[in-house]
Symmetry: C2
């Protein structure tokens, strides 16, 4: 297969960049992979494990002659990185990103982009609770969705080429407008993460009272929360700071529903609880049918 | 190995009873397994798949000559079942249960128990989101905790025998007083489940707005909530109705913490968010160290 891009440059070398590099290699999708990271330690690890073909010291060096530049830094760092690389971007290059929020990235990156590049924001809906250059694996995007949010008037050929790259890495691709992306993600990802963080924080406070019982008995449901809440703190801080409105809106709905259930518990309204719990069960079935999870029982996970 | 019990009787034949029966057989722990369930369909399935050696039509028949009786019905059904079987319990039999709440079970079952039986409440901290007689598997309890809450003056030999049975089924056993059990479970299980149900309910409301996007993009975090929220509605209704005080107390702490994070988001207080998210990450490490989960990345689950 002819490579889709001759040289891809990763700015940031964490879980997503590493997995993309490995998936690109697996698919023979690009001719050369260059990368850089702000941390000297991350650069050293990436070079040591051969995560990319060449590690550069600066972002400016990385983007030189690259026909694809992928911004894989926390959303809060996007603006500074965009400003830094702008003067060095090649004619006709595509610049994309993997940030969890799209409108804020567009606001941060867009103004710095020269007219001779194609800026096509993107977001792969995949990840694990691990981070850093050693966390990546080639299969991360298989059968997962990547959402592209091209701006009005975006070059169709450039968008199409980026779409084929993601498909080559195993993903399915959808196109969406940025505010809608941010709302959908507030529901499916951002608010659930905040809630998981909160519940784990509550348990941690109580842990001081009940020794290590919370950890010891976590198999009863709490464990899945800790898994979610173990994700990268910097990335998530930036998500909530930059998708503030949508997250606060969904949080408002969440607390409203929670108070209704709390009231049902206080009043002993079993019918209300049963009806609610039956309804949510059906949603699970929908997710399995949509191929986004398996039906295998999970709570006894370590035995499978 | 000499069987620990000659005849065990299961009242209720769902996920837990089925897994116990299979684990008892795996370990050669009991000579004969009898079972019954309220639903004729459940009894027919259990007989068809040979889940137990003998299926009886009534609970009274099941407990006849049994030296171990295991109540595997929702907490709300415990009192009626206890009353029904009481006259038929054998001299010196042990009666235990697997309910998720302990004080309420003691209040419901205790008064019906004749003096010639040993009532030793128990709770295996294991389960999956599936239910019914086909859901069980022998490995469910391996390396999981079972908590026994023997009453004051309980027979030490009877408690010891039941402990060895659970150990033979793969579990580790702890002893706790009932109110403390109910508080620990409110933190590690009951409140997390309520929160997961709530979040899935919110998403379901929004799904009407955003079509099936919520389901399609669930891999981003929401999926783990739907897994938790797919558990048996009747069981969970009874949990919240019977562990009301502890659940409401933990819910109060949860909403307090959530409001503090919500305020930090509204004010753009990134330091607060980052510090909070870093703290919760450490708890995850504790759970892995305690052997209650693996370190394998999970969100790309279907590929492993």
């Amino acid at each position: 297969m002819t490579p889709l891009y001759q040289r891809v440059a990763f700015i940031g070398l964490g879980l997503i960049a590493g997995s993309m590099a490995l998936a690109m290699r697996r698919g023979g999708l690009v001719a050369e992979i260059v990368g850089t990271a702000r941390s000297a330690e991350t650069r050293a690890i990436a070079a040591e494990i051969g995560l990319v073909d060449r590690v550069t010291d600066t972002a400016a060096q990385a983007v030189e002659d690259a026909d694809l530049v992928v911004l894989c830094v926390p959303v809060g760092a996007m603006s500074a990185v965009a400003q830094e690389i702008a003067p060095y971007l090649a004619q006709g290059a595509t610049v994309t990103d993997v940030g969890s929020v799209k409108q804020a990235v567009i606001d941060a990156v867009g103004p710095h982009m020269p007219r001779h590049v194609h800026f096509i924001p993107g977001h792969p809906l995949a990840g694990t609770e691990h981070s850093g250059p050693r966390a990546g694996f080639a299969e991360l995007f298989d059968n997962r969705w990547t959402i592209l949010t091209p701006l009005e008037g975006a070059d169709a050929a450039a968008t199409d080429r980026l779409t084929r790259l993601w498909q080559g890495m195993g993903a399915q691709v959808d196109v969406m407008d940025p505010p809608h992306h941010d709302l959908v993600l507030a529901v499916t990802s951002h608010t659930p993460h905040l809630i998981a963080y909160t519940m784990v924080g509550v348990a941690d406070d109580l842990r001081r009272v009940t020794d290590s019982e919370v950890i010891k008995y976590s198999a009863a449901g709490f464990r899945d929360f800790t898994r979610i809440a173990a994700s990268d703190p910097t990335m998530w801080r930036d998500v909530f700071l930059t998708n503030k409105d949508a997250t606060l809106e969904i949080l408002g709905r969440f607390t409203e529903e929670l108070f209704a259930l709390q009231r049902a518990i206080r009043r002993g309204d079993g019918d209300h609880l049963h009806a609610y719990f039956s309804r949510t069960r059906a949603i699970r079935r929908g997710i399995i049918d949509a191929g986004q999870d398996t039906d295998a029982p999970d709570f006894g996970r370590s035995k499978r």
